[in-house]
Symmetry: C2
Subunit: 359 residues, 2 copies
DNA sequence: CTGAAAGCGCTAACAA
DNA sequence: TTGTTAGCGCTTTCAG
């Protein structure tokens, strides 16, 4: 241990300090510092010796101390509204990959589910001075929050949704939604319902809006009628898809032959309830989603794939590059999407068949 | 800003320091420190004044500095093998709830998917001196890793699985599995297959083993025959459930009337493929899982519920209590489980009916 | 109740 | 190539 006196009264954290290593190796702390960080200006012999001693003593630099000295924490923050929903957990994994590879730590800030909407406003305190950069995952943010973020003046990027004035990475939501709707139309559907995501008014988040717009535009383009009664909404969960199905079906009047869902989870909700109600997929109802959730392949759900993990990985890379001094590394980028046709969509033709094929 | 000279050359992090606040409030840094942390020995008047100034200046204490001074980071680490699987993402959410409530940060260490098995061995470096305590999520750990962890001499608890010599929180896996199998037996099933989890030999992780043992014991107890060909395994994913179904069905010989799956995701895989193959659930095949995954209710999957979020929340609370000086706060605890009967299980009776009811 | 001052462990000029 | 030395910003005795 070091020689100072003031140590004993502190919180008993054991731990070998750089001084211990320096002493044991017969060099100065400065040299140890260079050696362990792999910096130049250390002779091979000295370096080897120091590394040996460090290893032996089990030395690990204190992140607080080096953080204080350098002004960097080597930690990046990830802000998410949920962690257990598909998009977010995948994105976190992606961010982690890049972070791990570059020896950074990941600090997770989960804004969802904590108290009131008001209180969730991340007290600057939360992230301030604790992270070197921030990755925001597809959050609906208030203007106030955006301002806060920008004041914190650290590299920042948002993944999975536009937030005004912030660089973002995500798919072209308009094009993705349009591709889904076109697929349905090409199959011959004309009676198409829409299950869109929450609007979250006043929360600066336009992913739902953009997808709705795409739906309307493509329908109009094709000269198809958009029925108001078939305009349903959900919150991206399976549950909300189930509820939407019932609102659609437990009501008199004609039924759509296809439904475009703004997320796979909602599409699954539709499929579960449809099946339960004896509505066959895709004979009676074609269902398409967006995402390509882990379960979608198993369920045969046709969808427009996106890769949140890759989006987050890229965003993280940009952040880290920026921190490495590459100015302009962080820039808005459009991520790819791809239509994946499976068995939940088909032509509306067989619909009226009185008896199902022996299936 | 402060007055020192050595500042300019550092990494341009702006930021108001405690000295700035002290100066602006006309008090010493010691007093500011007490005031902002809500410690006693500050007159109400002074405190108010300081808080006002701090607010105005946007002061936030540097975590590195206070970490260095106190030896605490106010961060706890969460070690997980995956983040996007149900159990883990739920557990992370649970841990976060408690952490957030107590003003701690959550540092996520994702061991899965990173390079080779060897390399994944968490270099002590990774967590050492960066966190005050560690929550390990249901990890299969090598002996070496366990040793490492114990050397790091910080509060530690594992959630969701036994790890020898470590305090753990989780359901009684034996009882939970037994409850599932008994449910099947009570329904009248005698031909029961098992889809268990990976063994991960040599990784100190016995959840799969325990569940297998329970299955065998209960079957024996009931005088039922356990067929070797009906002993399947998977890795807890939907995909592996699908594969298992095919191994079971694409083979000549009698078929089971029920299957006990060690996880809901695997059970879902079975259901998806069974449905696709025309095997009706539960008329032809009853399926039961363990977990109560988010999708289980929607799918009508009978299961034994557990709440990873609550387990992790409790584990985190113990860790934090321990850090608060409550010695012995961390102790192994059995979490509750509960059989949830839905529509994927039923009596094997109708099995031989030549024609399905108009369903 | 308040302030002075000595560190916490590490880094980064600057000298040597 | 290596060491000296001044901090980084905050906490915590200890005195007053």
């Amino acid at each position: 241990m070091a020689k100072t006196t003031g140590r004993a009264h502190r919180g008993g954290h054991s731990g070998v300090s750089i001084e211990d290593v320096a002493a044991a190796a017969g060099v100065s702390t400065a040299t140890v510092s260079r050696a362990v960080r792999g910096l130049p200006r250390v002779s091979p012999a000295t370096r080897e010796k120091i590394l040996g001693v460090a290893e032996e003593l089990g030395y690990v630099a204190s992140s607080s101390a080096s953080g204080l000295a350098t002004g960097r924490t080597r930690t990046i923050g990830v802000l998410a509204p949920f962690v257990s929903r598909w998009f977010f957990s995948k994105a976190i994994e992606g961010a982690d990959r890049e972070l791990h590879a570059r020896q950074y730590n990941l600090s997770l800030f989960n804004l969802g589910g904590h108290g009131s909407h008001r209180e969730r406003l991340f007290s600057k305190t939360m992230v301030y001075k604790q992270i070197d950069a921030l990755l925001v995952l597809c959050m609906a943010l208030t203007h106030e929050e955006i301002e806060h973020l920008q004041k914190i003046d650290i590299p920042l990027v948002v993944v999975g949704g536009h937030v005004e004035e912030c660089p973002y990475i995500g798919i072209d939501d308009y094009a993705a939604a349009a591709a889904a709707v076109r697929h349905l139309i090409e199959l011959g559907h004309t009676e198409i319902a829409l299950l869109h995501g929450d609007d979250e008014t006043d929360l600066n988040f336009d992913v739902p809006r953009v997808r709705i717009k795409a739906f309307q535009d493509v329908m109009a383009e094709a000269g198809l009628n958009v029925r108001k009664e078939w305009d349903e909404w959900g919150d991206f969960t399976v549950r909300s898809g189930q509820d939407a199905f019932h609102r659609l079906w437990d009501r008199p009047g004609p039924k759509p032959t296809a439904i475009f869902c703004a997320s796979d989870e909602m599409a699954m909700g539709i499929i579960f309830e449809a099946t339960r109600a004896g509505v066959r997929i895709p004979e009676d109802l074609s269902v398409i989603g967006i995402d390509d959730h882990d379960f979608s392949e198993a369920m045969g759900l046709t969808t427009v794939r996106q890769r949140p993990d890759e989006q987050a990985e890229l965003g993280t890379k940009m952040l880290l590059d920026e921190l490495d001094g590459i100015a302009g590394a962080v820039r808005s980028t459009v991520a790819p999407h791809q239509l994946i046709v499976r068995s939940s969509t088909g032509s509306p033709g067989r619909r009226a068949s009185p008896l199902p094929p022996s299936n």
